[in-house]
């Protein structure tokens, strides 16, 4: 394990791998060539030996032809001995066609097992004719007649010696050649891979993030072109990096701005919450401040009413006895009715003030107990109209269309009344010229089980920008004329609290429709 770890840096080295590959290939090729050379040489040696043997045998056969024909044993023995004197010849024998041995000669060597045997036929000359045939003009024929055989055994032990010598020489030369070529290869690879290493160094430097680095490699070869390409790539990456940095900066700025905007919005909400808290406190304080004198007024009204009720019979007696008299510049007969009516109104309006204040207080403190009351929408509309009776303008025509069979709605009549008052007041303020029509209608949407109240005017309408901010608190187009910017905000809150929805739609120049939709029934 340690070894492989130690070797791994080398094995990952391109130069080392190439060197290993080259030297391995050269070793293989050298071995192959050496083997081929040895085999060729040995084969050549054997072939030469056989050729030499065949040549010797053929010469002997040629020379032995006449002695064999003449059955001259001495001559044949001489010939055999002469041939046997050749170093590679182990034995020579000459025999007739019947296999009878006529002459034989052996060298002193022992006959090895792998001796090469050679046999050549001794033939009479084929192109020679008999005298009769010659005289008759016969054509010569190539038919050779075998008259005997020459057998040679050749010593092939030289091949083994030669093989050993050749193998040793080939190994020595091959090893020397391999070492020399390997050294040469190393030098060549060193030169060749120097550029490669330079390229790799440049790439690694660029890869490590130093995009300003460049591969300092000249030349128009593949490596040079690769270096140029990598330099171009690095330049391009550098450019991209700069662009990225710029974009990042822009993004950060944008995010900062977004955060600031969000912060502003949050702050606005916080301020608004704070305002609402303050408003609640203000409302509570106001309610307290108003309730006390209002209670006094209501008490006074009651007292006036009671006193007046007690005083009327007495005054009636006076009137009957003394005739007409004036109270506060008003004749008693008229004052009698007006005072009773006004005292009742004092009480009624005082109670109304109390309810309003209670409502504001409930809003301020989040009270919702009144939401479970039964609410008749038409009565609520009438109550709202009665409140606004004194503020009705002559130029504005108000028409009402109250639906029948409208079920009761669970909720606070006073709050819904307040909503309607807000909507009607807004409608009445939609006429800059002063003249216009406001239509108020109620109906029951049985399909959806909803009670709908609509306030429609044919005023100037609401612009798109204003429409988007209508339900924002303290947003008002009439701040300069006393608008608080809380009417629609509170109205929407009340309607939503009742489980309904407040919808506003407007066409600029044609008018606005405000629709209050409340769920019917659901009263405990």
């Amino acid at each position: 394990m340690k070894k492989s770890y130690r070797l791994s840096p080398y094995t990952k080295n391109f130069r080392f791998r190439l060197y290993l590959l080259f030297t391995g290939t050269i070793a293989l090729l050298t071995a192959a060539f050496a083997s081929f050379y040895v085999m060729t040489e040995i084969n050549g040696y054997r072939i030469t030996l056989e050729r030499e043997g065949r040549l010797l045998a053929t010469i002997l056969a040629q020379n032995a032809r006449l002695p064999l024909f003449a059955e001259n044993r001495e001559a044949l023995t001489l010939l055999a001995e002469g041939t046997a004197r050749y170093p590679s010849v182990l034995s020579v024998s000459i025999s007739g066609t019947d296999g009878r041995l006529i002459a034989e000669s052996k060298s002193r060597k022992e006959t090895p097992a792998d001796a090469v045997a050679m046999e050549v036929s001794i033939t009479s000359p084929g192109r020679v004719l008999s005298p009769e045939s010659v005289l008759l003009g016969h054509a010569t024929a190539d038919e050779e007649r075998v008259i005997g055989r020459v057998r040679l055994r050749l010593d092939s032990s030289g091949a083994r010696d030669r093989l050993a010598t050749l193998v040793a020489a080939s190994l020595a030369i091959g090893t020397l050649f391999w070492i020399l070529v390997s050294l040469l290869c190393y030098q060549i690879l060193k030169r060749v891979t120097a550029s490669f290493n330079m390229l790799m160094g440049g790439i690694e430097e660029i890869g490590s993030g130093k995009l300003s680095a460049r591969v300092d490699l000249d030349g128009d070869d593949e490596l040079g072109r690769a270096a140029n390409a990598i330099n171009a790539m690095a330049a391009s990456l550098k450019l991209r990096e700069l662009e990225n940095l710029s974009l990042q900066e822009e993004l950060l700025n944008a995010m900062k701005m977004e955060v600031q905007e969000e912060k502003k919005r949050v702050m606005a909400r916080l301020i608004h919450t704070n305002k609402m808290t303050s408003l609640g406190l203000l409302l509570s304080s106001m309610a307290h401040e108003i309730n006390n004198p209002n209670a006094s007024i209501r008490f006074s009204g009651h007292m006036i009413g009671k006193i007046w009720a007690d005083a009327v019979p007495l005054l009636d007696g006076v009137w009957r006895e003394e005739g007409e008299f004036y109270l506060g510049g008003v004749p008693f007969e008229k004052a009698r009715l007006v005072l009773a009516e006004n005292s009742a109104k004092i009480v009624e309006n005082s109670e109304r003030i109390a309810r309003v204040v209670q409502g504001l207080r409930d809003y301020g403190v989040g009270g919702g107990a009144q939401l479970r009351q039964k609410l008749e929408i038409n009565a609520t509309v009438s109550a709202a109209l009665s409140v606004l009776a004194c503020r009705m303008k002559r130029e504005v025509q108000l028409s009402t269309s109250l639906g029948t069979g409208i079920p009761v709605v669970a909720g606070s009549q006073q709050q819904i009344e307040q909503v309607l008052i807000n909507l009607i007041l807004n409608a009445m303020q939609a006429f800059p010229e002063g003249e216009g029509e406001v239509a108020l209608s109620t109906r029951y949407d049985s399909a959806a089980a909803e009670v709908v109240v609509e306030v429609r005017d044919n005023g100037t309408g609401i612009g798109a920008e204003t429409m988007g901010r209508l339900f924002e608190p303290f947003y008002s187009t009439k701040l300069e004329s006393g608008g608080s910017g809380l009417g629609l905000y509170i109205s929407q809150y009340i309607v939503v609290e009742h489980g309904g929805r407040l919808q506003l739609s407007s066409v600029l120049g044609k008018g606005t429709l405000a629709r209050v939709v409340l769920p019917a029934g659901q009263v405990n």
Binding site: L66, P125, E132, G137
Partner: protein, 283 residues
């Protein structure tokens, strides 16, 4: 098969199948040399003739043919034809292209061996005084006697060596080493066999003596001079003899003849090489 051949032979040889003629040509076999000689014969002899090639028949009864067809002359071409022709004694026989014709009373012709004097003149011109010659007495004894007779008339000494088997030739040649100036190679079947032929030329090479032979083919093997027969001319020569016979000359009056024409060829390279070793008369 043999029966059918005999039947066919009898049919072809029957007198009814043939017309009258003067010369019956018996040819041993279809052979280029025989054909050449027969052409030469026919050129010279204009008599009517019938030619029978004996190898075409399994058996030919020449005596019956001669008796029935009564040719005035039988021309035997080759040894076998001569042998068959000699079995009848109805018509005289002229032979040609026969290597061993022998001697007979009613037989004459042209032999295949040239006049020894021609060879001797060649040896003489080569400057050779001692001429070695190997022969089988059974085959060439008579020829050698006439050669010796002719040699005695000149200054050439024939050193003759007898052989009775072909295998003796190399050893006999060895016995001539240092004793001869030239070798005369006779067309003797015993002395010259295919196996022993090269011994002559090896001897010639080692002893530096020329070999005078009887056919041009031996010049390529190392022979110096060849005196060859002209087969066409032998036919013509025999044609003249036949003409004389047909004109009334008795066969006993016409002795056998040597071929009148000899075709002399020399291997100039061999002759040139051996020149220094030959006498003043060398070519």
């Amino acid at each position: 098969m043999q029966f059918l051949m005999i039947l066919l032979g009898l049919l072809l040889l029957s007198p009814a199948q043939t017309q009258a003629y003067d010369v019956l040509v018996l040819q041993s076999l279809h052979e280029k040399g025989y054909d050449e000689a027969v052409r030469g014969f026919k050129r010279e002899c204009r008599a009517g003739m019938r030619t029978l090639v004996l190898s075409d028949f399994a058996e030919a009864d020449v005596t019956r043919i001669a008796r029935e067809e009564k040719p005035r002359l039988i021309v035997a071409v080759g040894d076998r034809a001569l042998e068959l022709a000699q079995k009848q004694n109805i018509a005289p026989v002229l032979y040609m292209m026969a290597l061993n014709p022998g001697r007979s009373r009613s037989v004459s012709g042209v032999g295949m061996l040239l006049d020894p004097a021609r060879y001797l003149s060649v040896f003489d011109s080569l400057g050779a005084k001692r001429v070695g010659v190997i022969y089988d007495p059974a085959r060439s004894g008579a020829y050698l006697k006439s050669a010796e007779a002719a040699a005695k008339r000149g200054s050439i000494q024939l050193v003759g060596r007898e052989v009775h088997a072909a295998k003796e030739t190399p050893a006999v040649l060895e016995s001539l080493r240092g004793r001869v100036d030239a070798i005369w190679m006779l067309p003797d079947m015993t002395a010259v066999s295919p196996a022993s032929t090269e011994a002559y030329f090896l001897f010639s090479q080692s002893e530096r003596v020329p070999v005078v032979t009887f056919a041009e083919i031996y010049l390529t093997m190392g022979g110096a001079v060849a005196l060859a027969i002209d087969r066409f001319d032998i036919g013509r020569q025999l044609g003249k003899m036949a003409q004389r016979l047909l004109e009334g000359t008795l066969i006993e009056e016409i002795p056998p003849q040597y071929p009148r024409t000899a075709l002399t060829k020399a291997n100039d390279k061999v002759v040139r090489r051996l020149k220094g070793n030959l006498g003043a008369g060398a070519w």
